[in-house]
């Protein structure tokens, strides 16, 4: 199969959907000629024109609000938010308006809007350009949240997001834009709420989101060398969450680590871990461990920044402890 970059995969998804459905359009800062700072959208304005790829002023709350209004009345906007950190600016329009319109109207109004944004640290971009804020939107009913872990998922989930009748927030990892993965030429969609078992194993389940899927896979590789068989699962969407697949895996392996690049406290890992604890409790040989980003603002200095995110080495170390039963005495 051909291999394309994640950036190209997103671009293809958008182009295909824009060809298929005239009501799809893109709205955001420097999305047209510049194709965004990450160049993900390059070429789209040339094909679809400035009526469907609209450059906005630096007005995040404003253009997200405009996206909501367009979506409420029959368009399918894909709103581009240049950095995930800017979510803080658009929370009202996203969470008070988009997320609640369908419910508040008793099912009469709905908001088929996609908010494309990103996450991920270690790019030396410091505290306001490095955050992974997906937990915030995952907490708000009415929003769906997708977290592609490679070019393949990025394309398939984006196409599903655009066709979804609800507001969807999709987080791409900024550091993966140039990463290649096999992506079929033929059209495909990835349904929401279906986790992907990336690797089967029997001793421990590693659940990773977005870029942390790669971390989990690398960890599994290392563990395999030590005779520990790790199952790796990518939930792909955290809302809806495919609890069933996760729980079944953990019932089988009886141990799990949840890995995510958002801050650890009050985030993704706590939710997934407690669902596993609740629903697979009597199958667990050890507590479900969590590995989120460190609970500190992201530091600029490379010497510090690299310490704040989960790495395969740290996952391996935790996995070893879990499997060896070392934690029994700790708890």
């Amino acid at each position: 199969m051909r291999e394309i970059t994640l950036s190209k995969a997103v671009n293809e998804a958008l182009a295909e959907e824009m060809r298929r459905d005239e009501t799809v359009f893109i709205l955001g800062e420097d999305v047209a000629e510049a194709g965004t700072p990450f160049k993900v959208l390059s070429g789209l304005v040339e094909e679809f024109g400035t009526d469907r790829v609209l450059d906005t002023p630096i007005s995040e709350p404003g253009f997200v609000g405009i996206g909501v209004g367009a979506a409420l009345t029959g368009a399918r906007p894909v709103v581009d938010l240049m950095f995930g950190d800017f979510l803080f600016l658009v929370m009202d329009q996203l969470c008070n308006q988009a997320a609640k319109a369908y419910y508040m109207s008793g099912g009469k109004l709905n908001v088929p809007m996609v908010l494309r944004t990103n996450l991920g640290a270690t790019r030396r971009s410091a505290a306001q350009h490095s955050q992974s804020l997906h937990a915030l939107v995952a907490h708000i009913p009415g929003l769906k949240v997708a977290m592609p872990s490679s070019a393949y998922e990025a394309k398939g989930l984006m196409k599903t997001a655009i066709r979804d009748d609800n507001p969807v927030v999709i987080f791409e990892d900024k550091l993966m834009y140039q990463d290649k993965a096999p992506v079929p030429e033929e059209e495909y969609l990835i349904p929401f709420g279906e986790a992907n078992v990336k690797r089967e194993g029997s001793d421990i389940t590693l659940i990773g989101t977005s870029s942390m899927v790669q971390v989990a896979e690398k960890a599994a590789e290392i563990l395999a060398g030590e005779g520990i068989s790790a199952e790796v699962i990518d939930p792909r969407t955290i809302v809806p969450l495919d609890e069933k697949t996760l729980i079944e895996s953990v019932k089988k392996t009886s141990r799990a680590i949840v890995i995510d690049e958002g801050h650890q406290s009050y985030g993704i890992t706590g939710e997934i871990a407690s669902r596993l604890n609740e629903k697979a409790f009597y199958h667990l040989d050890a507590p479900v461990l969590r590995m989120g980003a460190m609970d500190v603002p992201v530091p600029f200095s490379p010497a510090l920044e690299d310490l704040t995110v989960p790495t395969p080495e740290r996952v391996v170390e935790a996995a070893r402890k879990l499997v060896s039963g070392e934690l029994i005495h700790a708890a």
């Binding site: 906005t56 002023p57 709350p61 404003g62 609000g65 405009i66 209004g69 508040m104 009913p141």
Partner: protein
């Protein structure tokens, strides 16, 4: 009962039928609010609500310049907009009481009442929260080449929200068919707006290159004439526009705001009600022009009052939504979110 509008092009209302419909619509709003206030006072309504009484000429003057295809966004003080845009009493009262037959199946209530079928995209409990929505609706119209116009209602207090400046900028750049209608009733909750608004609201819109107008919000004909002109121009791509409408709310900020002496005087309230009431004054004009007799106007009032009372009675007896609806309408396409 609201009469459905058949006009396909927008024009200023100039015939008796139009005039009488405007009168009736204003009376309907007043009657609706009187009933809602009673419901609150008699502890039959859950929560609080914000009365539109006094501002009727704004909603009616503007909405009578619109078709069902045209969209409006409304505010926390939204009953007037809802009635003016064509909603029915029964579904409205059901919504205010949290009943299943309400416009939003009781899930929205007063602050989120919407009426999709007449183009009312909904009240909003976030001050200024619908400014983006109205602008986005206008962008959609422009991109899809449909000729509808979007009107964004908001209060004077809402002009303090940064969102407005962001969306005005885009509306102006993209020449969107949106009309920003600021109902300046002089107060933001318990504070006089001149204490919290510097400079000139009109100039703020003008600074974005937006054609801006001031109009007496108590004069339904003046409001309607200006609105019809601007709606027509917006349809032709000459928008956006801004209108500041000077008006007054008769009640407190919300139904529970009874003792208002510390922020506005009884004299001021009495003055507006006596001299500038939009319904009384329009009624007098209808009489003086020979369009309706005093008796005919009384008959309209009575008929509307009876309608409102019947609707309240209906709503009070109507059933609540069943508990199983609690997790419905969270996601379109998923019947029960928590199943």
């Amino acid at each position: 009962m609201a009469q459905s509008k058949t006009t396909k092009t927008t024009k200023t209302k100039t015939n008796s039928e139009d005039y009488l419909r405007m009168y009736r619509q204003m009376v309907r709003i007043r009657a609706f609010e009187d009933q809602a206030n009673q419901l609150y006072l008699s502890a039959k309504m859950p929560g609080l609500t914000h009365m539109y009484s006094g501002q009727e000429a704004v909603a009616v003057g503007i909405c009578e310049a619109l078709n069902d295809d045209d969209r409006i966004t409304s505010t926390h003080r939204g009953h007037g907009h809802c009635v003016a845009k064509g909603a029915e009493f029964k579904e409205m009262f059901c919504e205010l009481l949290g009943k299943a037959e309400g416009y939003c199946r009781g899930k929205g209530g007063s602050m989120h009442i919407a009426d999709q079928s007449h183009g009312n995209l909904g009240a909003n409990a976030i001050v200024g929260g619908s400014m983006g929505i109205a602008t986005g609706s206008a962008l959609r119209a422009k991109l899809q080449g449909s000729k509808d116009v979007s009107v964004c209602f908001f209060g004077d207090g809402a002009t303090a929200q940064g969102l407005w400046y962001e969306v005005m900028n885009m509306a102006a750049l993209w020449k969107l068919p949106v009309i920003y209608a600021c109902e300046n009733n002089g107060y933001s909750e318990y504070t006089r707006t001149d204490e919290i608004a510097a400079g000139s609201i009109l100039d703020r819109a003008k600074a974005f290159g937006i054609e801006s107008f001031e109009v007496d919000g108590q004069d339904v004909l003046a409001v309607n004439e200006l609105s019809a002109k601007l709606v027509e121009r917006a349809r032709k791509g000459e928008g956006p526009f801004f209108i500041e409408l000077k008006t007054y709310r008769y009640h407190g900020h919300h139904v529970g705001d009874i003792n208002r002496d510390y922020y506005r005087s009884k004299d001021e309230e009495a003055e507006w009600k006596k001299v500038r009431d939009p319904i009384t004054n329009f009624g007098k004009w209808l009489e003086s022009e020979g369009i309706a007799s005093a008796d005919e106007l009384v008959a309209i009032n009575d008929e509307v009052a009876a309608d409102a009372e019947a609707a309240v009675k209906y709503a009070l007896d109507a059933p609540y939504p069943p508990g199983e609806e609690v997790d419905m309408h969270v996601y379109k396409g998923i019947e029960h979110a928590l199943a």
